[in-house]
Amino acid sequence: MKNYIGAPLLSALKEAFPAAEYDSEAAQPAVYIPAAELTALLIFLRDDARFGFARLENLTSADYKTYFEMVYHLFAWGPNVWITVKVKLDHDAPVVPSVTGVFPGAEFEEREVYDLMGIEFSGHPDLRRILLAEDFTGHPLRKDYKQAAPPRVPRLRREGGRVYAAD
């Protein structure tokens, strides 16, 4: 990310959304926002003339063992400026509002996060697993995910035309 959003615009954002938090010391601070205000913030960033973040380039999540983090990378084409928006989620029941109403192109990426990380998106039009089978249990990208042992197939022993179980 070459050009990150500058400090004056970040403080303007803070004025409009007092609940938003960022580390003013960092070079490229991510903006943390409570889940309830996420869609309002994204609409503001997209539609306000000072910001103009009309492209959601990337949507993903990370598991930090005690909490989940949703990560949204937004890009303003023209001024070529970036901003990262993050939402911290409870590890036991992670739910976040879907941003498909603001950026319809986020549909598959949210389904992917739901599938692999197990985060629920409220208001998503078609929330189903996308890569794994429908009857799969668990979410592989979580840090506490344990791969199930492969099914045990008994080995066979042939002796004198008869077949025995080897062990």
Binding site: D63, H73, F103, P104, G105, A106, I130, L132, P140
Partner: protein, 365 residues
């Protein structure tokens, strides 16, 4: 009044037009498509999870297997992300070699597109012509890295080894052939009435629809939006080369074909300029063998052959990445499939998959 019902037809996963293993659930009214739902995951290998248990440098060959017809571009994207995270400065010669490889691979990938599009339309001969010419690029890659697929040539910090002395001459010889074979494709395909009528005005997308689906690459450029990261971000040494970004007008399949067709010539222009200006010097940066980037995260993107290829990497200061997410362009472009099929006939759905040019290794990751 007789009551009619809609009919569900599964295209794939073992249909030759699905370019791998994609299943598309088509809801039909007679032969008209009411809804197309892509069902993917048949090639899911969990590369994001695998990368978490490998070191940064061991991760490079896994990216070869994402979009396996343009592996160089994937290596390039991943290595740029790791370098940005670890603060590695790449030598100028290595940057030039990377651009040469990425653009040659773009030509090869677009040749696969043209060939398979022709094949899906029933013109099997088209595939033979494009694959014949793609061989020459694969021979060049064979010369520099010894592999014809899954190259693992672009490495973190530079490239694996210097170019062999005969490379420049052989590459120029290939570039001289580019106008010849593009003209041949044009004569073979573009004047054909069946080819035109299957593509023109079919699966049309407006620029607004393309933006709403977050499409990137040739698919968005076909609608007239010049979104090319080589120009927008100007990463690596691309700003030093003169090239144009071909765009379409109508956003139909014909424009998707035309944009990629013209990109072959533009990529060849870039390769020629890079060969001219190729500086001398080392091809690998100096950095510790056990690479431990500082704590932090990065989102870095490049223009892959199919669109914006982004890598989001979180480092916790150890030798292995804490989290890797890959923004795969084919995966996100697939969202437009429904809009591209709705209202058209079953036969047009085959052309629609082909025109998006998805690669299932990348979609399923």
């Amino acid at each position: 009044m007789p009551q009619t019902e809609t009919y569900i037809l599964n295209m794939g996963p073992q249909h030759p037009s699905t370019h791998g293993v994609l299943r598309v659930n088509l809801e039909l009214d007679g032969e008209k498509i009411l809804r197309a739902t892509p069902m993917m995951g048949y090639l899911h290998r969990g590369i994001e999870k695998l990368l978490e248990s490998r070191t940064y440098i061991q991760g490079v060959p896994y990216t070869d297997r994402l979009d396996y017809v343009s592996s160089m571009n994937n290596n390039f994207g991943y290595c740029r992300a790791v370098e940005e995270l670890a603060g590695i400065e790449v030598p100028a010669r290595a940057e030039y070699i990377r651009v040469i490889m990425a653009e040659l691979n773009r030509i090869a990938s677009h040749q696969v597109f043209i060939g398979s599009l022709a094949n899906d339309l029933g013109a099997s001969t088209g595939m033979l012509y494009t694959f014949r010419d793609r061989e020459e690029i694969l021979d060049l890659f064979d010369l520099v890295c010894g592999a014809r697929m899954t190259f693992h040539y672009i490495r973190v910090g530079g490239v694996a080894r210097n170019l062999p002395p005969e490379f420049a001459e052989k590459c120029r010889k290939f570039l001289d052939r580019v106008p010849e074979f593009t003209e041949e494709y044009a004569n073979l395909l573009m004047g054909n009435e069946i080819f035109q009528r299957r593509l023109k005005g079919v699966s049309r997308l407006t620029p607004e629809q393309a933006l709403a689906h977050n499409m990137t690459g040739p698919n968005i450029r076909a609608t007239g939006i010049p979104f090319d990261l080589r120009k927008v971000d100007g990463y690596s040494v691309y700003p030093q080369f003169a090239f144009e970004v071909p765009v379409g007008e109508n956003g139909d399949n014909w424009d998707r074909f035309r944009v990629r067709f013209r990109e072959i010539t533009e990529s060849a222009r870039i390769v020629r300029q890079a060969l001219e200006g190729l500086p001398e010097g080392p091809v690998m940066a100096k950095f510790p063998k056990m690479l431990k980037p500082p704590k932090g995260e990065v989102f870095s993107r490049t223009e892959g052959t199919r669109g914006e290829l982004g890598f989001y990497i979180v480092s916790d200061g150890t030798a292995k990445p804490y989290r890797v997410h890959i923004r795969r362009p084919s995966f996100i472009n697939m969202q437009a499939l429904d809009d591209m099929c709705r209202g058209y006939l079953i036969g047009d759905s085959v052309v629609a998959f082909s025109a998006i040019d998805p690669l299932m290794g990348e979609v399923d990751c």
